[in-house]
Structure formats: C-alpha cells, structure tokens
C-alpha cells in the first residue's frame, strides 16, 4: 500500500498557536536590541549637542574638569578611572587566575563543591555594600598601615582594591571555564612524557586556554571601568589629575553619579557633558569587548 505524504514532509502540521509563540520569542530577543539601540541613540544625540559647544580636542586634552567655569577636560576623570581599574586588575587578575587553576587542576571534589558557591556569593553582594566596605573598613585599615597623613580619607587605592575583590569571582569563574575546556587527553599526554602536575598546569593547560583567559581579563577590565558605586563612595568627589593612588580623585562613573544627584537642569551644557562622559565610557568598554571577542576568535585552538 502506498501512502502519499504531504509536501511538508514528515513534520507534524504546525499548531495554530506556534506562530504566536514564535513572534513572542522574537519580540523578546528584539526588545534587548531595541533598548541598546535606544540608549545609543540618546547618548549620541546628547553627546553631539555637547560637542557643538566644546571642541573634541579640548575635551580629550584638557586637564581640568569643572563644568561650572566651563572647563571640560576629561583627563582628570579618565586618569582616575585608569588608576582604580588598574589597581582592581592587579588584585583580580593574579588572584582570579590562581583561584581558577586551583579549582580546575588541584582542588579535591569536596573543596570544589564548597568553593564555587562561595565565590558566587561574593558575586551576589550589592556593589553599594562593597562601597561602604571600602570607605569604612578598608580605608581605615590602610590608613593605619600607610599612615594617616599619606593616605587620604577618600582615595583610589582602597576603592581599587575593593573593586578587585568585586570582579574576582567574574574572572575566576571565566578562567575556570577556559581551563576546564582543555581536554583531558592533552593533560594525560603530558603526564605520559613524565611532566609533573605543576609543569602540566603551567606549560600545557594555561597556554592551551590562553584565549579564554585573555578574554576573561579584558571583560574584567571593562567591568572595572564601568563600576560605579564603589568609586563614587570611596574614591573621592572631586576631579583630580593624579596617578597617585593614595590621593582622592573622581572617576568618570563617579562624576556622573554625583552631578546627576544635584539640581541639574536639562538643556544645559553641564547636563549634556554627562552624556559626553557616558559616551566615552561606552566607547572604551565597547572597544575592550571587541578586543576580547577577537582574541577568542583568533587564538582559539580547536581540539578534537
């Protein structure tokens, strides 16, 4: 007996509700893209109106940021962002990598079961708590060690260190993923040639996972650049062109928070200057994210 199949093939005929569900799912996906597009649009519009009044050269090279007297040089804000982010990375990078190596290569099953959730808890603490932790615990501690005179009440060092703790779980878990992705056979081949565990880790596993590790670092850096609450609370409230971490200075994000908290009126140059800072931040983090994507794509080793 021959049976003629419908042209659709063997698939079950689509249910009437299917199209609706598909459309709903598509709109969910489109929603996040539209939000991003909206943000970029507003950011671009306000930034454009800012650069109609202030030259981009002055913006990028000026060494004083005081909107009240018409000084719009982003260097003091950018330098503070740079210093705090670098300190944060100096903490999070080595610690995160070591945590990841320990978790993926050395930790016994029981320890791992305990450590991973503990790290995730660290990632779940609200950043405002970290901010007050920096201001009221870490700063007094550091001032006791370094000296009351040398370390200011609001300083970049304490903000940077605590920010490092904040991004540590992010870096550790991304690095761990990268290390775990290295196939077992590679480790076993190395052991077969007589390598010790340390040699396997440093000479085989870490180099093999390099692209993943680099991507984790760069994403961590971009998180540090955008971090707001800790620096707003602990790093200081005045733009200050200095690379000395013992001093107070205000980061780009910290400045936006402080100024938007005051009575700022719309359609003023002060108002649009905040968007110019935000656009600068946006460009920086976008570049960092693009670099991280490229590294992952280019240096990815494909294991069979």
């Amino acid at each position: 007996m021959t049976q003629v199949f419908p042209a659709r093939g063997l698939a079950r005929p689509p249910r009437p509700g299917e199209a609706v569900i598909k459309a709903f799912l598509f709109s969910c996906a489109a929603f996040s893209i539209l939000t991003t597009a909206g943000i970029v649009l507003i950011l671009g519009k306000e930034t454009f109106s800012f650069f109609k009044e202030v030259s981009i050269v002055e913006f990028l090279t000026g060494s004083l940021w005081q909107p009240a007297i018409g000084k719009f040089g982003i260097l003091p804000l950018a330098s503070a962002t740079l210093v705090t982010s670098l300190i944060a990375m100096a903490v999070a990078l080595p610690l995160g990598l070591m945590v990841a190596v320990y978790l993926s290569e050395y930790a016994p099953w029981g320890v791992r079961q305990f450590l991973k959730p503990a790290l995730e808890v660290l990632a779940g603490i609200p950043t405002v708590v970290y901010g007050y932790f920096a201001l009221s615990t870490v700063t007094p501690l550091l001032r006791g060690m370094i000296g009351q005179d040398r370390l200011q009440v609001y300083n970049m060092l304490s903000a940077g260190l605590v920010m490092g703790i904040l991004i540590l779980p992010l870096i550790a878990s991304m690095c761990e993923d990268a290390l775990s992705a290295v196939p077992r056979t590679m480790r076993e081949a190395a052991y077969a040639t007589g390598a010790t565990k340390l040699e396997v880790t440093t000479q085989v596993v870490v180099p093999a996972a390099f692209s993943g590790l680099a991507a984790a670092f760069i994403l961590g850096l971009s998180r540090a650049v955008g971090e707001t609450m800790i620096v707003a609370l602990a790093a200081g409230a005045g733009p200050n062109l200095t690379l000395n971490p013992l001093k107070s200075a205000e980061t780009m994000t910290g400045h936006i928070v402080r100024i938007s908290g005051g009575d700022l009126s719309y359609d003023t140059i002060d108002y649009s200057s905040l968007f110019a800072i935000a656009a600068t931040l946006f460009v920086i983090t976008m570049i960092l994210n693009l670099i991280s994507r490229r590294i992952v794509g280019k240096r990815r080793e494909v294991y069979e």
Binding site: K247, R258, G262
Partner: protein, 326 residues
C-alpha cells in the same frame, strides 16, 4: 523727603479708612507665640503670590510655601531664585513682584527707585532668619584655631601647603572640601571670599566637591590637614568630630551670628509694602503664615532663627501694615 513721607503716611491712613473689611482668611486660632499676628487658614486664601530674589532665602520660602500649600492654599506661590539684587530690581524698579527676598538690607538707591514708581512703594522689612557658614577643620587638627577672610581666600585657592597661608602652620598639603557648585552655600562663599569669582576655588588642587554634606563632614573629620565649609547647622550636628575656626577672630555662635559680628553670617529678609499687603489679601496671608511658622522650619533648612526681638519687630510691622483688616 519729609513731605513725601508725610504724603505716604496720609495715603496709608486713607487706605485704612476705606479698607474693604476683614481679610477672609483670618482664623480664630493663632499659632503665633508672640501673640501679635492673627491665625491663618490657608484653605481660604485665593489668588497668587509673586516673590523673587535671593537664592539663599529660596529654600526657606520654598519650605514655607510647600507647607502653605499642604495646609490648603490652592493658588500659586512663585519664588524666583535670581539673587537679592535682581529681586530688588523687580520689586522696586519694575514693581511687578509682591515680595522681594533678600540676604542683605535694601539699599537707599533701591528705596528711592521704589518711591518713584507709578504707585510708589515704601519697603517694609521683615527679618526672617540668619544664614551663617562654618569654616571647619578636623578635631584632630591642633594648629588652626582662627583665620582671616583673606587667608581663607588663599587657603581655598592657590595655597599648596598650610604654611603658604600662615608661616607657623605646618608644611602639609591642604585638602579642600566644598559644597558642590549647585548649592547656595558655594555661591555665598565665592561671593564673600572671592568676590563672586568661581575660578580660583574651582581651579584649586585637592578639591572635593559634594552636594552631600555627609561626604564633606567625613572627609574633613578624618584628615588633620583638611578644611571645609558648610552651613553652621551642619557643624552643630557634628560638633564632636569637627572644629569651627574663628573668622577674623570671631568664633561662630548663636550670639555672634545674632549680633552680626561673625563675618560669614548675614541676615535674611523679605520686603513688601503696606499697599500691596492691604490690596492683596493673599500676600498678607502668606507673610502672616511665614512669620508665624518660620522658626519651625528654618533650622531644618539649615539657617539660624532670627533674633527674637528682630522677629517680633517684623511681626509688629506686619500687624501695623494689616491694620483694620483682622
């Protein structure tokens, strides 16, 4: 001059005779502790009130107007924060506002221009409070006890070290804390110490600016070599951690502020005119309400109450201007 005074007095008298009866907003229960002013029922007040002037008086007037509206006033109170001088210009020269808000007394030139208006105005002064700034250092600071206004100018602009201001002070970096540029306190400081120029202060090194007074208190309290300034009320709240400097050898206190000898203090005034008060019941009601409740709100806004005698004099002046209407 004397003739004009006589004429305006005569005008006042005739006005009192031909007054259109009692104000409708008068309430039988008055909260005035001096028992001079009548009670006010804001719900019975109609019309709008236009005031303009000092940005320092602004938050106080705003607080009063908010409470006035909350208790039932359905009209509009306009409070333009344009500075005392501009406030007087609109009141005495343009003659368009009902009340001038001021953080200084009216000048004789401004009085004259008010008298030359088509419907001449004779300013009546109502003292509502006092504003003072405290210049503070940490209680750990052992060397600084007093400062002159000139030294203050140096300390908040070009000085890198404390020793640049006074040679007996240590060669340690000055860390400056100032209210943000949106605040009236900032404007007042700049006006008095830098003759309204913002550049010296804003270009200073080691400067922290914050609209949040807690940030300033914490920053100054924690550092022996920090200095800051803010409303006196805030210093009082943090007396344990901070030390207020004597300015031009006068320590800030309720008494020196009352007497007007502390250099960084100034009286806060409202100005109006008897004819406006007679013709616009809503202005009379607002002023009555203002003087009755100002001391409930003034400390919260961050200022000092006016000396009791000055506030009483203001109330008497208002009662005289409203004669026959309550």
């Amino acid at each position: 001059m004397k003739k004009r005074l006589l004429a305006s007095l005569l005008a006042l008298l005739t006005m009192a005779v031909f007054a259109q009866g009692k104000f409708t907003w008068v309430d039988s229960i008055s909260d005035d502790k001096d028992k001079i002013l009548p009670g006010v029922n804001p719900a019975k007040v109609t019309g709008s009130i236009i005031t303009a002037g000092s940005s320092t008086v602004f938050p106080l007037s705003e607080a009063i107007a908010e409470r006035f509206a909350k208790e039932g006033f359905a009209g509009q109170v306009t409070i333009d924060s344009i500075g005392s001088g501009a406030g007087f210009e609109r009141w005495a020269k343009a003659g368009e506002t009902d009340i001038a808000n001021a953080s200084r007394a009216i000048k004789s030139s401004e009085k004259e221009s008010a008298a030359k208006l088509a419907t001449p105005r004779t300013p009546i002064e109502f003292r509502v409070g006092t504003d003072a700034l405290a210049v503070v250092v940490s209680s750990k600071n052992s060397f600084a006890k007093d400062i002159t206004v000139d030294e203050l100018g140096k300390l908040f602009s070009t000085a890198t070290y404390w020793s640049d201001v006074r040679s007996t002070w240590p060669r340690k970096e000055v860390k400056r804390f100032s209210p943000g540029t949106d605040s009236g306190t900032f404007d007042y400081f700049v006006e008095h110490v830098f003759k309204t120029k913002k550049e010296p202060l804003l270009s200073a090194k080691n400067l922290q600016l914050s609209e949040d007074d807690n940030v300033l208190v914490q920053g100054v309290a924690g550092d022996e070599y920090a200095v800051g300034y803010f409303g006196f009320a805030y210093y009082v709240e943090n007396r344990g951690k901070l030390k207020a400097l004597a300015v031009n050898s006068i320590a800030p206190s309720g008494e020196t502020v009352d007497a007007g000898t502390y250099p960084l203090s100034r009286p806060l005034f409202l100005y109006s005119d008897a004819r406006i008060i007679q013709e616009k019941p809503q202005v009379a009601a607002f002023l009555t309400y203002y003087l009755t409740y100002v001391n409930d709100l003034i400390v919260k806004v961050g200022y000092f109450p006016a000396p009791a005698s000055a506030l009483k004099a203001s109330k008497n002046a208002l009662a005289a201007a409203m004669k026959g209407r309550y």
